[in-house]
Amino acid sequence: MEALKRNWLKFSESKISVIGLVIVSAFLLLAIFGKYMVPYPEHIGSYVDFANAGLAPSSKHLCGTDLMGRDIFSRIIGSFRNTLLMGVIVLCISAPVGFVVGVIAGYNKGKLIDTVLMRITDIFLAIPPLVLALAIASVLEPNLTNSMLAITVMWWPWYARLSYGVTSSLRSENYIIYAELVGAKLPHIIFKEILPNCLSAVLTKMTLDMGYVIIMGATLSYAGLGEQAPKPALGSMISSGVKYMPGQWWLTIFPAIAIILIVLGFNLLGDGISNMLGTEEN
Protein backbone atom coordinates (compact mmCIF):
# COMPACT_ATOMS: atom_id res chain seq x y z
CA MET A 1 0.00 0.00 0.00
CA GLU A 2 2.85 2.29 0.97
CA ALA A 3 4.67 1.38 -2.25
CA LEU A 4 1.55 2.04 -4.29
CA LYS A 5 1.21 5.47 -2.76
CA ARG A 6 4.86 6.29 -3.41
CA ASN A 7 4.56 5.15 -7.03
CA TRP A 8 1.51 7.34 -7.48
CA LEU A 9 3.45 10.31 -6.07
CA LYS A 10 6.30 9.67 -8.48
CA PHE A 11 3.89 9.26 -11.37
CA SER A 12 1.86 12.34 -10.56
CA GLU A 13 4.94 14.47 -9.95
CA SER A 14 4.45 15.66 -13.50
CA LYS A 15 0.80 16.74 -13.66
CA ILE A 16 0.82 16.30 -17.39
CA SER A 17 1.14 12.51 -17.10
CA VAL A 18 -2.05 12.52 -15.03
CA ILE A 19 -3.76 14.17 -18.03
CA GLY A 20 -2.40 11.31 -20.14
CA LEU A 21 -3.85 8.79 -17.72
CA VAL A 22 -7.27 10.50 -17.88
CA ILE A 23 -7.28 10.56 -21.70
CA VAL A 24 -6.21 6.93 -21.97
CA SER A 25 -8.77 5.77 -19.39
CA ALA A 26 -11.52 7.63 -21.25
CA PHE A 27 -10.37 6.05 -24.52
CA LEU A 28 -10.37 2.55 -23.03
CA LEU A 29 -13.85 3.03 -21.53
CA LEU A 30 -15.24 4.36 -24.81
CA ALA A 31 -13.61 1.55 -26.77
CA ILE A 32 -15.31 -1.04 -24.60
CA PHE A 33 -18.68 0.54 -23.79
CA GLY A 34 -18.87 3.28 -26.44
CA LYS A 35 -21.28 1.30 -28.61
CA TYR A 36 -23.93 1.53 -25.93
CA MET A 37 -23.26 5.14 -25.01
CA VAL A 38 -23.32 6.95 -28.35
CA PRO A 39 -26.43 8.89 -29.43
CA TYR A 40 -26.84 6.99 -32.73
CA PRO A 41 -25.53 3.43 -32.35
CA GLU A 42 -27.02 2.35 -35.72
CA HIS A 43 -24.90 4.99 -37.52
CA ILE A 44 -21.74 3.01 -36.78
CA GLY A 45 -22.61 0.48 -39.52
CA SER A 46 -24.05 0.87 -43.00
CA TYR A 47 -26.81 3.42 -42.48
CA VAL A 48 -28.01 5.95 -44.99
CA ASP A 49 -30.05 9.09 -44.34
CA PHE A 50 -29.52 11.52 -47.22
CA ALA A 51 -31.98 13.96 -45.68
CA ASN A 52 -29.46 14.70 -42.96
CA ALA A 53 -26.29 14.39 -45.06
CA GLY A 54 -23.43 16.84 -44.58
CA LEU A 55 -24.88 18.74 -41.65
CA ALA A 56 -22.60 21.11 -39.77
CA PRO A 57 -22.01 20.50 -36.03
CA SER A 58 -25.06 21.30 -33.93
CA SER A 59 -26.49 20.31 -30.58
CA LYS A 60 -28.17 17.35 -32.30
CA HIS A 61 -25.02 16.17 -34.06
CA LEU A 62 -22.04 17.31 -31.98
CA CYS A 63 -19.52 16.74 -34.75
CA GLY A 64 -21.92 17.07 -37.67
CA THR A 65 -22.90 14.32 -40.11
CA ASP A 66 -21.07 12.77 -43.07
CA LEU A 67 -22.24 12.59 -46.69
CA MET A 68 -24.32 9.49 -45.94
CA GLY A 69 -26.09 11.37 -43.16
CA ARG A 70 -24.37 9.43 -40.34
CA ASP A 71 -23.50 11.07 -37.02
CA ILE A 72 -19.71 11.63 -37.04
CA PHE A 73 -19.44 11.68 -33.23
CA SER A 74 -20.99 8.21 -33.02
CA ARG A 75 -18.76 6.90 -35.79
CA ILE A 76 -15.60 8.23 -34.12
CA ILE A 77 -16.48 6.54 -30.84
CA GLY A 78 -17.50 3.43 -32.76
CA SER A 79 -14.11 3.19 -34.40
CA PHE A 80 -12.28 3.14 -31.07
CA ARG A 81 -12.72 -0.57 -30.47
CA ASN A 82 -10.88 -1.58 -33.62
CA THR A 83 -8.29 1.13 -33.05
CA LEU A 84 -7.57 -0.27 -29.59
CA LEU A 85 -7.64 -3.84 -30.84
CA MET A 86 -5.06 -2.99 -33.44
CA GLY A 87 -2.68 -1.49 -30.89
CA VAL A 88 -3.08 -4.32 -28.41
CA ILE A 89 -2.69 -7.16 -30.88
CA VAL A 90 0.26 -5.65 -32.72
CA LEU A 91 2.14 -4.99 -29.48
CA CYS A 92 1.23 -8.29 -27.86
CA ILE A 93 2.79 -10.13 -30.77
CA SER A 94 5.75 -7.91 -31.59
CA ALA A 95 6.93 -7.37 -28.00
CA PRO A 96 7.41 -11.05 -27.06
CA VAL A 97 8.90 -11.93 -30.46
CA GLY A 98 11.32 -9.03 -30.25
CA PHE A 99 12.13 -9.87 -26.63
CA VAL A 100 13.13 -13.45 -27.37
CA VAL A 101 15.23 -12.44 -30.38
CA GLY A 102 16.91 -9.63 -28.46
CA VAL A 103 17.63 -11.68 -25.34
CA ILE A 104 19.09 -14.61 -27.24
CA ALA A 105 21.32 -12.28 -29.26
CA GLY A 106 22.30 -10.18 -26.24
CA TYR A 107 23.05 -13.19 -24.08
CA ASN A 108 25.34 -14.60 -26.77
CA LYS A 109 26.94 -11.25 -27.44
CA GLY A 110 29.94 -11.51 -29.74
CA LYS A 111 29.03 -14.98 -30.99
CA LEU A 112 27.72 -15.93 -34.45
CA ILE A 113 24.08 -16.15 -33.39
CA ASP A 114 24.25 -12.56 -32.10
CA THR A 115 25.56 -11.32 -35.45
CA VAL A 116 22.96 -13.23 -37.48
CA LEU A 117 19.95 -12.19 -35.36
CA MET A 118 20.95 -8.57 -35.01
CA ARG A 119 21.81 -8.13 -38.69
CA ILE A 120 18.36 -9.46 -39.61
CA THR A 121 16.89 -7.01 -37.12
CA ASP A 122 18.95 -4.20 -38.65
CA ILE A 123 17.68 -5.03 -42.13
CA PHE A 124 14.11 -4.62 -40.94
CA LEU A 125 15.03 -1.40 -39.17
CA ALA A 126 16.72 -0.03 -42.29
CA ILE A 127 13.56 -0.14 -44.42
CA PRO A 128 11.30 2.86 -43.84
CA PRO A 129 8.45 1.38 -41.77
CA LEU A 130 5.61 2.92 -43.73
CA VAL A 131 6.98 1.72 -47.06
CA LEU A 132 7.31 -1.82 -45.72
CA ALA A 133 3.85 -1.80 -44.18
CA LEU A 134 2.30 -0.35 -47.37
CA ALA A 135 4.04 -3.00 -49.45
CA ILE A 136 2.84 -5.86 -47.25
CA ALA A 137 -0.68 -4.53 -46.91
CA SER A 138 -1.06 -3.93 -50.63
CA VAL A 139 0.21 -7.38 -51.62
CA LEU A 140 -2.30 -8.96 -49.24
CA GLU A 141 -6.03 -8.33 -49.28
CA PRO A 142 -6.75 -4.92 -47.66
CA ASN A 143 -8.50 -5.52 -44.32
CA LEU A 144 -7.94 -5.00 -40.60
CA THR A 145 -6.15 -8.33 -39.99
CA ASN A 146 -3.67 -7.84 -42.79
CA SER A 147 -2.87 -4.28 -41.81
CA MET A 148 -2.19 -5.54 -38.28
CA LEU A 149 0.08 -8.21 -39.72
CA ALA A 150 1.93 -5.60 -41.76
CA ILE A 151 2.52 -3.37 -38.76
CA THR A 152 3.62 -6.27 -36.57
CA VAL A 153 6.26 -7.31 -39.10
CA MET A 154 7.86 -3.91 -38.95
CA TRP A 155 7.43 -3.41 -35.21
CA TRP A 156 9.19 -6.34 -33.49
CA PRO A 157 12.75 -5.21 -34.36
CA TRP A 158 12.39 -2.26 -32.00
CA TYR A 159 11.73 -4.64 -29.13
CA ALA A 160 14.62 -6.82 -30.22
CA ARG A 161 16.92 -3.77 -30.05
CA LEU A 162 15.57 -2.77 -26.66
CA SER A 163 15.91 -6.19 -25.01
CA TYR A 164 19.27 -6.65 -26.72
CA GLY A 165 20.52 -3.50 -25.04
CA VAL A 166 19.19 -4.44 -21.61
CA THR A 167 20.43 -8.03 -21.85
CA SER A 168 23.93 -7.19 -22.98
CA SER A 169 24.30 -4.82 -20.04
CA LEU A 170 22.90 -7.43 -17.64
CA ARG A 171 25.32 -9.96 -19.09
CA SER A 172 28.09 -8.77 -16.79
CA GLU A 173 25.91 -8.65 -13.66
CA ASN A 174 27.24 -10.98 -11.03
CA TYR A 175 23.96 -12.79 -10.46
CA ILE A 176 23.85 -13.85 -14.11
CA ILE A 177 27.48 -14.98 -13.92
CA TYR A 178 26.69 -16.81 -10.70
CA ALA A 179 23.73 -18.60 -12.28
CA GLU A 180 25.99 -19.80 -15.08
CA LEU A 181 28.76 -20.89 -12.74
CA VAL A 182 26.43 -22.87 -10.54
CA GLY A 183 25.04 -24.62 -13.63
CA ALA A 184 21.67 -22.98 -14.38
CA LYS A 185 20.09 -23.72 -17.78
CA LEU A 186 19.35 -21.10 -20.43
CA PRO A 187 15.53 -20.93 -19.91
CA HIS A 188 16.10 -20.22 -16.21
CA ILE A 189 18.52 -17.41 -17.03
CA ILE A 190 16.28 -15.86 -19.70
CA PHE A 191 12.90 -16.10 -18.02
CA LYS A 192 13.76 -16.01 -14.32
CA GLU A 193 16.75 -13.69 -14.24
CA ILE A 194 16.62 -11.45 -17.33
CA LEU A 195 12.88 -11.10 -18.07
CA PRO A 196 11.98 -9.40 -14.76
CA ASN A 197 14.69 -6.84 -15.41
CA CYS A 198 13.49 -6.09 -18.96
CA LEU A 199 9.86 -5.80 -17.96
CA SER A 200 9.76 -2.15 -16.94
CA ALA A 201 11.58 -0.97 -20.06
CA VAL A 202 9.37 -3.08 -22.32
CA LEU A 203 6.15 -1.97 -20.60
CA THR A 204 7.10 1.69 -20.89
CA LYS A 205 7.90 1.28 -24.55
CA MET A 206 4.63 -0.57 -25.14
CA THR A 207 2.63 2.31 -23.68
CA LEU A 208 4.49 4.86 -25.77
CA ASP A 209 4.16 2.64 -28.84
CA MET A 210 0.37 2.31 -28.53
CA GLY A 211 0.11 5.84 -29.89
CA TYR A 212 2.48 5.22 -32.76
CA VAL A 213 0.84 1.94 -33.77
CA ILE A 214 -2.52 3.72 -33.82
CA ILE A 215 -1.09 6.43 -36.09
CA MET A 216 0.39 3.77 -38.35
CA GLY A 217 -2.94 1.96 -38.48
CA ALA A 218 -4.72 5.20 -39.32
CA THR A 219 -2.17 5.91 -42.04
CA LEU A 220 -2.79 2.52 -43.63
CA SER A 221 -6.52 2.99 -43.46
CA TYR A 222 -6.10 6.52 -44.88
CA ALA A 223 -4.37 4.86 -47.83
CA GLY A 224 -7.33 2.48 -48.09
CA LEU A 225 -5.41 -0.53 -46.79
CA GLY A 226 -7.12 -0.95 -43.44
CA GLU A 227 -10.65 -1.52 -42.22
CA GLN A 228 -13.08 -1.29 -45.19
CA ALA A 229 -16.33 0.69 -45.42
CA PRO A 230 -18.96 0.76 -44.09
CA LYS A 231 -17.17 0.05 -40.79
CA PRO A 232 -15.71 3.25 -39.34
CA ALA A 233 -11.96 3.82 -39.09
CA LEU A 234 -10.36 7.11 -38.19
CA GLY A 235 -7.94 7.05 -41.13
CA SER A 236 -10.51 6.33 -43.80
CA MET A 237 -12.89 8.93 -42.32
CA ILE A 238 -10.20 11.55 -42.74
CA SER A 239 -9.27 10.45 -46.25
CA SER A 240 -12.88 10.46 -47.44
CA GLY A 241 -13.49 13.89 -45.92
CA VAL A 242 -10.31 15.59 -47.01
CA LYS A 243 -11.56 16.43 -50.50
CA TYR A 244 -14.39 18.52 -49.01
CA MET A 245 -11.98 20.74 -47.07
CA PRO A 246 -12.34 23.48 -46.06
CA GLY A 247 -16.10 23.78 -46.76
CA GLN A 248 -17.24 20.70 -44.85
CA TRP A 249 -14.29 20.80 -42.43
CA TRP A 250 -16.01 18.74 -39.76
CA LEU A 251 -15.69 15.59 -41.88
CA THR A 252 -11.92 15.71 -41.43
CA ILE A 253 -11.12 17.78 -38.36
CA PHE A 254 -12.97 15.75 -35.71
CA PRO A 255 -11.47 12.33 -36.54
CA ALA A 256 -8.08 14.04 -36.76
CA ILE A 257 -8.52 15.57 -33.29
CA ALA A 258 -9.50 12.12 -31.99
CA ILE A 259 -6.24 10.63 -33.31
CA ILE A 260 -4.18 13.47 -31.89
CA LEU A 261 -5.78 13.11 -28.46
CA ILE A 262 -5.31 9.35 -28.33
CA VAL A 263 -1.65 9.50 -29.36
CA LEU A 264 -0.97 12.36 -26.99
CA GLY A 265 -2.67 10.47 -24.17
CA PHE A 266 -0.53 7.36 -24.61
CA ASN A 267 2.64 9.43 -24.90
CA LEU A 268 2.00 11.35 -21.72
CA LEU A 269 1.06 8.16 -19.89
CA GLY A 270 4.23 6.47 -21.15
CA ASP A 271 6.37 9.34 -19.88
CA GLY A 272 4.70 9.11 -16.50
CA ILE A 273 5.26 5.37 -16.30
CA SER A 274 8.87 5.78 -17.29
CA ASN A 275 9.33 8.38 -14.54
CA MET A 276 7.74 6.05 -12.05
CA LEU A 277 9.79 2.99 -12.96
CA GLY A 278 12.97 4.87 -13.75
CA THR A 279 13.42 6.33 -10.30
CA GLU A 280 12.48 3.09 -8.60
CA GLU A 281 16.07 2.31 -7.67
CA ASN A 282 16.59 5.51 -5.67
Binding site: E173, N174, Y175, I177, Y178, A179, E180, L181, V182, G183, A184, H188, K192, E193, P196, N197, L199, E281
Partner: protein, 335 residues
Amino acid sequence: MAEKILDIKNLKKYFPLKSGQVVKAVDGVDLELYEGETLGLVGESGSGKSTIAYVLVGMYEATDGDIIYKGDNLAKAGLNRTLKQRGEIQIVFQDPGSSLNSKRTVGKSLMVPLKIHTKMSKADMEKRSRDLLEEVGLPAEFADKYPRTLGGGERQLISVARALATNPSLVILDEPTSALDVSVQAKVISKLIDLQKELQLAYLFITHDLSLMRNVADRVAILYLGRLCEQAPAEDFFKKPLHPYTQMLLSSIPVVTAEEEKMKPSKVQSTGEIPSPVNVPPGCAFHLRCRYKKPICMKERPVMKELSPGHFVCCHLFNDDTYESDKTAAQTVAE
Protein backbone atom coordinates in the same frame (compact mmCIF):
# COMPACT_ATOMS: atom_id res chain seq x y z
CA MET B 1 48.52 -31.55 8.90
CA ALA B 2 45.54 -30.36 6.96
CA GLU B 3 45.00 -31.82 3.54
CA LYS B 4 46.09 -29.84 0.49
CA ILE B 5 42.96 -29.23 -1.58
CA LEU B 6 44.18 -26.85 -4.24
CA ASP B 7 47.50 -26.75 -6.04
CA ILE B 8 48.01 -24.06 -8.66
CA LYS B 9 51.15 -24.48 -10.74
CA ASN B 10 52.55 -21.94 -13.17
CA LEU B 11 49.08 -20.57 -13.92
CA LYS B 12 48.89 -18.26 -16.94
CA LYS B 13 45.94 -16.40 -18.36
CA TYR B 14 46.49 -14.20 -21.41
CA PHE B 15 43.86 -12.11 -23.16
CA PRO B 16 44.63 -11.33 -26.79
CA LEU B 17 43.56 -7.85 -27.87
CA LYS B 18 42.24 -6.92 -31.30
CA SER B 19 45.35 -4.82 -31.85
CA GLY B 20 47.44 -7.99 -31.72
CA GLN B 21 48.84 -7.18 -28.29
CA VAL B 22 48.40 -9.57 -25.41
CA VAL B 23 47.31 -8.72 -21.87
CA LYS B 24 49.22 -11.03 -19.59
CA ALA B 25 46.75 -10.80 -16.70
CA VAL B 26 48.23 -13.77 -14.86
CA ASP B 27 51.75 -14.78 -15.80
CA GLY B 28 53.05 -17.84 -13.99
CA VAL B 29 51.54 -18.01 -10.53
CA ASP B 30 52.04 -20.88 -8.04
CA LEU B 31 49.73 -21.16 -5.05
CA GLU B 32 48.60 -23.89 -2.67
CA LEU B 33 45.62 -23.98 -0.42
CA TYR B 34 44.99 -26.31 2.52
CA GLU B 35 41.72 -27.44 4.00
CA GLY B 36 40.25 -24.94 6.45
CA GLU B 37 42.84 -22.19 5.93
CA THR B 38 42.63 -18.63 4.60
CA LEU B 39 45.05 -17.52 1.94
CA GLY B 40 45.04 -13.76 1.42
CA LEU B 41 45.77 -12.80 -2.17
CA VAL B 42 46.65 -9.11 -2.16
CA GLY B 43 47.18 -6.82 -5.11
CA GLU B 44 46.21 -3.51 -6.64
CA SER B 45 44.20 -3.01 -9.82
CA GLY B 46 45.74 -4.78 -12.80
CA SER B 47 47.52 -7.30 -10.60
CA GLY B 48 45.39 -10.15 -11.95
CA LYS B 49 43.88 -11.14 -8.61
CA SER B 50 40.32 -11.26 -9.91
CA THR B 51 41.41 -13.09 -13.05
CA ILE B 52 42.80 -15.87 -10.84
CA ALA B 53 39.42 -16.07 -9.09
CA TYR B 54 37.55 -16.27 -12.38
CA VAL B 55 39.84 -19.00 -13.73
CA LEU B 56 39.35 -20.98 -10.53
CA VAL B 57 35.55 -20.88 -10.71
CA GLY B 58 35.59 -21.71 -14.42
CA MET B 59 34.58 -18.43 -16.04
CA TYR B 60 37.80 -18.57 -18.04
CA GLU B 61 40.03 -21.40 -19.22
CA ALA B 62 43.65 -21.08 -18.20
CA THR B 63 46.09 -20.30 -21.02
CA ASP B 64 48.69 -22.54 -19.43
CA GLY B 65 49.52 -24.26 -16.16
CA ASP B 66 47.64 -26.58 -13.82
CA ILE B 67 44.89 -26.17 -11.28
CA ILE B 68 44.79 -29.39 -9.31
CA TYR B 69 41.68 -29.52 -7.16
CA LYS B 70 41.44 -32.71 -5.08
CA GLY B 71 43.33 -34.62 -7.75
CA ASP B 72 41.52 -33.29 -10.85
CA ASN B 73 43.08 -30.75 -13.19
CA LEU B 74 40.57 -27.95 -13.79
CA ALA B 75 42.85 -25.62 -15.73
CA LYS B 76 41.30 -26.31 -19.12
CA ALA B 77 37.84 -27.33 -17.95
CA GLY B 78 36.28 -23.85 -17.93
CA LEU B 79 32.57 -24.32 -17.46
CA ASN B 80 32.77 -27.96 -18.52
CA ARG B 81 33.41 -29.13 -15.00
CA THR B 82 31.17 -31.55 -13.17
CA LEU B 83 28.23 -30.41 -11.11
CA LYS B 84 30.06 -31.62 -8.00
CA GLN B 85 33.12 -29.52 -8.83
CA ARG B 86 30.92 -26.49 -9.48
CA GLY B 87 29.32 -26.93 -6.09
CA GLU B 88 32.57 -27.45 -4.21
CA ILE B 89 34.28 -24.27 -5.43
CA GLN B 90 32.03 -21.28 -4.78
CA ILE B 91 32.52 -17.55 -5.10
CA VAL B 92 31.29 -14.39 -3.37
CA PHE B 93 31.56 -11.30 -5.54
CA GLN B 94 32.68 -7.82 -4.61
CA ASP B 95 29.71 -5.66 -5.54
CA PRO B 96 26.75 -6.24 -3.22
CA GLY B 97 24.59 -4.30 -5.69
CA SER B 98 24.98 -6.72 -8.56
CA SER B 99 25.39 -10.08 -6.89
CA LEU B 100 21.67 -10.51 -6.29
CA ASN B 101 18.86 -10.06 -8.82
CA SER B 102 16.99 -6.96 -7.64
CA LYS B 103 13.72 -8.18 -9.17
CA ARG B 104 13.62 -11.48 -7.27
CA THR B 105 13.18 -12.13 -3.59
CA VAL B 106 16.14 -13.25 -1.50
CA GLY B 107 14.51 -16.64 -0.99
CA LYS B 108 14.23 -17.21 -4.74
CA SER B 109 17.87 -16.24 -5.26
CA LEU B 110 18.92 -18.72 -2.60
CA MET B 111 16.91 -21.47 -4.26
CA VAL B 112 18.81 -21.21 -7.55
CA PRO B 113 21.75 -23.40 -6.41
CA LEU B 114 19.43 -25.71 -4.45
CA LYS B 115 17.29 -26.38 -7.51
CA ILE B 116 20.33 -27.38 -9.53
CA HIS B 117 22.40 -29.21 -6.95
CA THR B 118 19.81 -31.08 -4.88
CA LYS B 119 16.67 -33.08 -5.46
CA MET B 120 14.73 -31.32 -2.71
CA SER B 121 11.02 -30.63 -2.92
CA LYS B 122 9.92 -27.03 -3.15
CA ALA B 123 8.93 -26.93 0.52
CA ASP B 124 12.29 -28.40 1.55
CA MET B 125 14.12 -25.83 -0.55
CA GLU B 126 12.17 -23.03 1.07
CA LYS B 127 13.02 -24.37 4.49
CA ARG B 128 16.68 -24.84 3.57
CA SER B 129 16.98 -21.27 2.24
CA ARG B 130 15.59 -19.95 5.52
CA ASP B 131 18.04 -22.13 7.44
CA LEU B 132 20.88 -20.78 5.31
CA LEU B 133 19.90 -17.23 6.19
CA GLU B 134 19.97 -18.09 9.88
CA GLU B 135 23.30 -19.81 9.43
CA VAL B 136 24.87 -16.52 8.26
CA GLY B 137 23.19 -14.67 11.13
CA LEU B 138 20.27 -13.09 9.29
CA PRO B 139 16.59 -13.42 10.19
CA ALA B 140 14.72 -16.08 8.19
CA GLU B 141 12.08 -13.50 7.18
CA PHE B 142 14.63 -11.95 4.82
CA ALA B 143 13.66 -14.71 2.39
CA ASP B 144 10.57 -12.70 1.45
CA LYS B 145 12.38 -9.39 1.02
CA TYR B 146 13.81 -7.80 -2.10
CA PRO B 147 17.55 -6.99 -2.10
CA ARG B 148 17.02 -3.25 -2.49
CA THR B 149 15.39 -3.04 0.95
CA LEU B 150 18.53 -4.49 2.56
CA GLY B 151 21.90 -2.97 3.40
CA GLY B 152 25.17 -3.80 1.63
CA GLY B 153 26.44 -5.99 4.46
CA GLU B 154 23.21 -7.96 4.58
CA ARG B 155 23.35 -8.50 0.84
CA GLN B 156 26.93 -9.76 1.08
CA LEU B 157 25.91 -12.19 3.83
CA ILE B 158 23.13 -13.43 1.55
CA SER B 159 25.74 -14.03 -1.16
CA VAL B 160 27.70 -16.03 1.40
CA ALA B 161 24.56 -18.02 2.26
CA ARG B 162 24.04 -18.71 -1.44
CA ALA B 163 27.62 -19.92 -1.75
CA LEU B 164 27.11 -22.25 1.22
CA ALA B 165 23.99 -23.80 -0.33
CA THR B 166 26.06 -26.33 -2.29
CA ASN B 167 28.23 -27.38 0.69
CA PRO B 168 31.50 -26.10 -0.77
CA SER B 169 34.95 -26.84 0.60
CA LEU B 170 36.61 -23.83 -1.07
CA VAL B 171 35.05 -20.37 -1.15
CA ILE B 172 36.67 -17.64 -3.19
CA LEU B 173 36.00 -14.26 -1.61
CA ASP B 174 36.58 -11.60 -4.26
CA GLU B 175 36.88 -8.38 -2.21
CA PRO B 176 33.67 -9.22 -0.36
CA THR B 177 33.85 -6.20 1.95
CA SER B 178 35.66 -3.51 0.01
CA ALA B 179 32.40 -1.73 -0.85
CA LEU B 180 31.20 -1.76 2.77
CA ASP B 181 31.67 0.56 5.73
CA VAL B 182 34.11 -0.63 8.38
CA SER B 183 31.45 -1.31 11.01
CA VAL B 184 29.55 -3.43 8.50
CA GLN B 185 32.76 -5.03 7.23
CA ALA B 186 33.51 -6.11 10.79
CA LYS B 187 30.16 -7.90 11.01
CA VAL B 188 30.61 -9.72 7.71
CA ILE B 189 34.22 -10.70 8.42
CA SER B 190 33.53 -12.02 11.90
CA LYS B 191 30.68 -14.11 10.47
CA LEU B 192 32.99 -15.45 7.75
CA ILE B 193 35.54 -16.45 10.39
CA ASP B 194 32.88 -18.24 12.46
CA LEU B 195 31.59 -20.09 9.40
CA GLN B 196 35.08 -21.17 8.45
CA LYS B 197 35.65 -22.77 11.85
CA GLU B 198 32.24 -24.39 11.86
CA LEU B 199 32.35 -25.82 8.34
CA GLN B 200 36.09 -26.31 7.82
CA LEU B 201 36.02 -24.04 4.75
CA ALA B 202 39.11 -22.97 2.87
CA TYR B 203 39.05 -19.31 1.83
CA LEU B 204 40.93 -17.71 -0.99
CA PHE B 205 40.51 -14.13 0.17
CA ILE B 206 41.19 -11.63 -2.60
CA THR B 207 41.65 -8.04 -1.48
CA HIS B 208 43.74 -4.90 -1.67
CA ASP B 209 43.51 -4.34 2.07
CA LEU B 210 46.64 -5.54 3.87
CA SER B 211 45.46 -4.52 7.34
CA LEU B 212 42.37 -6.68 6.90
CA MET B 213 44.58 -9.61 5.86
CA ARG B 214 46.67 -9.19 9.00
CA ASN B 215 43.58 -10.13 10.97
CA VAL B 216 42.05 -12.73 8.70
CA ALA B 217 44.65 -14.65 6.69
CA ASP B 218 46.82 -17.57 7.73
CA ARG B 219 49.10 -16.92 4.79
CA VAL B 220 49.46 -13.87 2.55
CA ALA B 221 50.55 -13.71 -1.11
CA ILE B 222 51.29 -10.44 -2.92
CA LEU B 223 50.60 -10.06 -6.64
CA TYR B 224 52.03 -7.40 -8.93
CA LEU B 225 51.19 -7.34 -12.64
CA GLY B 226 50.18 -10.98 -12.77
CA ARG B 227 53.20 -12.30 -10.85
CA LEU B 228 53.76 -13.20 -7.22
CA CYS B 229 56.25 -11.01 -5.35
CA GLU B 230 56.14 -12.50 -1.91
CA GLN B 231 54.31 -15.18 0.01
CA ALA B 232 54.55 -15.89 3.72
CA PRO B 233 52.67 -16.91 6.85
CA ALA B 234 50.78 -13.81 8.01
CA GLU B 235 52.67 -13.32 11.26
CA ASP B 236 56.08 -13.55 9.59
CA PHE B 237 54.94 -11.46 6.64
CA PHE B 238 53.98 -8.41 8.67
CA LYS B 239 56.96 -8.67 10.99
CA LYS B 240 59.46 -8.88 8.18
CA PRO B 241 58.17 -7.77 4.80
CA LEU B 242 60.97 -8.33 2.28
CA HIS B 243 59.98 -7.45 -1.25
CA PRO B 244 60.37 -3.75 -2.10
CA TYR B 245 56.83 -3.69 -3.51
CA THR B 246 55.41 -5.19 -0.33
CA GLN B 247 57.16 -2.51 1.62
CA MET B 248 55.78 0.24 -0.61
CA LEU B 249 52.31 -1.24 -0.20
CA LEU B 250 52.67 -1.37 3.58
CA SER B 251 54.01 2.17 3.77
CA SER B 252 50.98 3.44 1.84
CA ILE B 253 48.35 2.08 4.19
CA PRO B 254 46.58 4.79 6.18
CA VAL B 255 46.53 3.55 9.77
CA VAL B 256 44.76 4.69 12.93
CA THR B 257 47.18 4.08 15.80
CA ALA B 258 50.75 5.00 16.63
CA GLU B 259 51.67 1.34 17.16
CA GLU B 260 50.65 0.59 13.60
CA GLU B 261 52.63 3.54 12.36
CA LYS B 262 55.74 1.91 13.80
CA MET B 263 55.13 -1.21 11.72
CA LYS B 264 55.19 0.72 8.47
CA PRO B 265 58.52 0.79 6.65
CA SER B 266 59.33 4.44 7.15
CA LYS B 267 62.08 4.72 4.57
CA VAL B 268 59.98 3.69 1.61
CA GLN B 269 57.58 6.10 -0.07
CA SER B 270 55.14 5.25 -2.78
CA THR B 271 56.28 6.47 -6.18
CA GLY B 272 55.27 5.90 -9.78
CA GLU B 273 52.21 4.09 -11.11
CA ILE B 274 51.40 0.54 -12.03
CA PRO B 275 52.21 0.05 -15.73
CA SER B 276 49.48 -1.27 -18.01
CA PRO B 277 49.40 -5.10 -18.12
CA VAL B 278 49.68 -4.79 -21.92
CA ASN B 279 53.22 -3.47 -21.52
CA VAL B 280 54.73 -5.39 -18.66
CA PRO B 281 58.29 -4.10 -18.20
CA PRO B 282 61.02 -6.64 -19.03
CA GLY B 283 62.90 -8.29 -16.18
CA CYS B 284 61.30 -7.71 -12.81
CA ALA B 285 57.89 -6.10 -13.43
CA PHE B 286 58.40 -3.80 -10.46
CA HIS B 287 61.81 -2.36 -11.36
CA LEU B 288 60.39 0.95 -12.67
CA ARG B 289 59.18 1.88 -9.19
CA CYS B 290 61.87 0.16 -7.14
CA ARG B 291 64.41 2.21 -5.26
CA TYR B 292 66.78 -0.76 -4.86
CA LYS B 293 66.90 -1.70 -8.53
CA LYS B 294 70.11 -3.06 -10.04
CA PRO B 295 71.04 -3.52 -13.71
CA ILE B 296 69.99 -7.17 -13.60
CA CYS B 297 66.43 -6.23 -12.58
CA MET B 298 65.83 -4.62 -15.96
CA LYS B 299 66.93 -7.69 -17.89
CA GLU B 300 66.20 -10.86 -16.03
CA ARG B 301 63.01 -12.00 -14.39
CA PRO B 302 63.77 -12.98 -10.77
CA VAL B 303 62.78 -16.41 -9.44
CA MET B 304 60.93 -17.35 -6.28
CA LYS B 305 63.21 -18.21 -3.38
CA GLU B 306 62.35 -19.61 0.04
CA LEU B 307 64.24 -17.54 2.59
CA SER B 308 62.77 -19.03 5.75
CA PRO B 309 60.20 -21.83 6.09
CA GLY B 310 57.14 -20.79 4.09
CA HIS B 311 58.45 -17.27 3.36
CA PHE B 312 59.03 -16.88 -0.38
CA VAL B 313 60.37 -13.79 -2.13
CA CYS B 314 60.80 -13.13 -5.82
CA CYS B 315 63.48 -10.45 -6.02
CA HIS B 316 67.06 -10.22 -7.30
CA LEU B 317 68.20 -8.70 -4.03
CA PHE B 318 67.76 -12.08 -2.39
CA ASN B 319 69.36 -14.11 -5.17
CA ASP B 320 71.81 -16.85 -4.19
CA ASP B 321 74.78 -15.72 -6.26
CA THR B 322 74.59 -12.08 -5.46
CA TYR B 323 73.09 -12.38 -1.99
CA GLU B 324 76.46 -12.10 -0.26
CA SER B 325 77.63 -9.07 -2.19
CA ASP B 326 74.21 -7.48 -1.86
CA LYS B 327 73.80 -8.37 1.73
CA THR B 328 73.88 -4.76 2.80
CA ALA B 329 71.20 -3.86 0.29
CA ALA B 330 69.10 -6.84 1.30
CA GLN B 331 69.49 -5.95 4.92
CA THR B 332 68.41 -2.37 4.39
CA VAL B 333 65.35 -3.70 2.67
CA ALA B 334 64.65 -6.15 5.43
CA GLU B 335 64.86 -3.44 8.04
